[in-house]
Amino acid sequence: MIKLENVSKSIKGKTVIDGITQTFHGGITYGLKGINGSGKTMLMRLISGLIYPTAGRIEIRGKELGKDLSFPENLGLLIENPAFLDTYTGFDNLWLLASLNNKVGKTEVREALLKTGLNPEDRRKYKKYSLGMKQRLGIAAAIMEKPQILILDEPLNALDAEGVALFDKIIREEKEKGTLIILSCHEEEKLREYSDVILTMENGKIKNREEL
């Protein structure tokens, strides 16, 4: 469970998140909706621990982010355009990341790649990947360690129809596992399809909460 209590964030004097109070529960998918600049990415960065609130507090399973925790435990994250090491293959990139935590082995890394439609045996370097392949690798990195919290910022960017179908399947599986998912997506139809709750953001605030 993630609990935001009156969370605000200002950057260089500008308020980007304004007094948000919201609880996120495991097993539920939250879709963030809002125009550009409404604060969706900043909210995801706050929950990921990449930035800390100027006011208010964020609790993750009773532990305060920035005080008891630097980053949430068991977090899967896709927050910027995915970026990996150019001279490594897709598998080697994920394996290097996986070796930082030692939570999963090569089998799980291969599984994650296969789930996104990438070939683990592909020897092409990352720099040779198409935009869609880069996005798939970003999704694979987010899910490979079987996270309990999954944060996905515009995961459908650059994905072709096959990629979207595979992503649909990934979301279904993660939901079945009870993963707490927070995602944003410019395609409203898709956002509604994935989400159990839609949070509409405006000027750094949650303007509306809609349960589907």
Binding site: I11, K12, K14, V16, N36, G37, S38, G39, K40, T41, M42, R45, S48, G49, L50, I51, Y52, G66, L69, S70, F71, E73, L75, L77, I79, E80, N81, P82, A83, F84, L85, T87, N93, L96, L97, S99, L100, N101, N102, A141
Partner: protein, 287 residues
């Protein structure tokens, strides 16, 4: 264990994958060494016994105290400045590239900002040591090839005629401290200060700060400018009232501790944002 894995990651990704950056240093070291060797011929000093210590004195001689009088032009010690500026350049980009793109994946997996910072400090130590190891190793190999003596002695005549340097009392310990320990420690201290400043300012300003410290050190003789401790011509080996070795070691250690400590304090609340998000001008377009 996590720190060990992070350090292993930094060695693989921040050192092994960037070994090509040490090539210009090796080439320049060769050019400077061979140039110095050739200049013996031009000065009819072929019969003088050139030693590796003479070569290292040439690298780290720095600049004698400068008195700005009419007709006395300031000449920058190019070799000395290159050595230290390249070291600062070498440690400039990697740590902060680890806070965007792929780095976001790394830091969120470390689970601890403090460990991340510690691993980057350790990386700066390793990178600087390796960089200086390249300088010493290349000059050692060239010394072997050019039949330059490897003893701890040095030719006073070569020092006087080529480096305009007459050293005071020189003991083996002083040579080690002034030609190995203090240059490496000074460079580590400057690079760590630069790393720490990167948590407050843009990287380019941090490099400029390093450059200002080093350039100012060549101009002003003062213990407040740490570069002074890494110049033989500012040391007690060269001047009676020169920079004290112990004072130099203490200053370097103090700056290292201060930089690591300030970084620890800053990283706790540091916002990991893309560059344009810091300004927020383009946030609206990308959010």
């Amino acid at each position: 264990m996590r720190l060990y894995r992070l350090i292993r990651y930094d060695i693989k990704n921040g050192i092994c994958s960037r070994l090509y950056l040490y090539v210009p240093a090796a080439i320049l070291c060769s050019v400077f060494t061979i140039g110095f060797y050739m200049s013996l011929q031009n000065r009819n000093l072929e019969n003088e016994k050139l030693t590796i210590i003479n070569i290292l004195l040439y690298f780290f001689e720095g600049k004698e105290p400068f008195s700005p009088e009419l007709g006395n032009a300031f000449v920058f010690p190019v070799v000395w400045l290159f050595i230290f500026l390249y070291s600062a350049f070498l440690t400039l980009n990697y740590p902060y590239s680890n806070l965007t793109g792929y780095g976001v994946q790394v830091i969120t997996r470390t689970k601890s900002r403090k460990l991340w910072w510690l691993s980057k400090c350790f990386w700066v130590f390793l990178t600087t040591f390796l960089y200086f190891a390249v300088w010493y190793l290349v000059s050692l190999v060239l010394s072997l090839i050019l039949h330059i003596d490897l003893s701890i002695q040095y030719s006073e005549r070569i020092c006087a005629e080529l480096l305009d340097m007459k050293l005071q009392s020189v003991q083996a310990g002083s040579v080690w401290i002034s030609l190995v320990i203090l240059p490496v420690m000074t460079s580590v201290a400057v690079n760590l200060l630069q790393l720490c400043l990167g948590l407050f300012f843009d990287r380019i300003y941090c490099f400029l700060a390093s450059a200002v410290i080093l350039f100012a050190s060549t101009y002003f003789q003062t213990p407040l400018l740490i570069g002074n401790f890494a110049m033989v011509k500012r040391s007690v080996m060269y001047q009676e009232n020169g920079m004290d070795f112990t004072q130099g070691i203490i200053a370097c250690v103090a700056l290292i501790i201060l930089s690591i400590g300030a970084g620890f304090w800053r990283i706790r609340k540091y916002d990991i944002l893309k560059k344009h998000e810091r300004g927020l001008q383009q946030e609206a377009e990308d959010d």
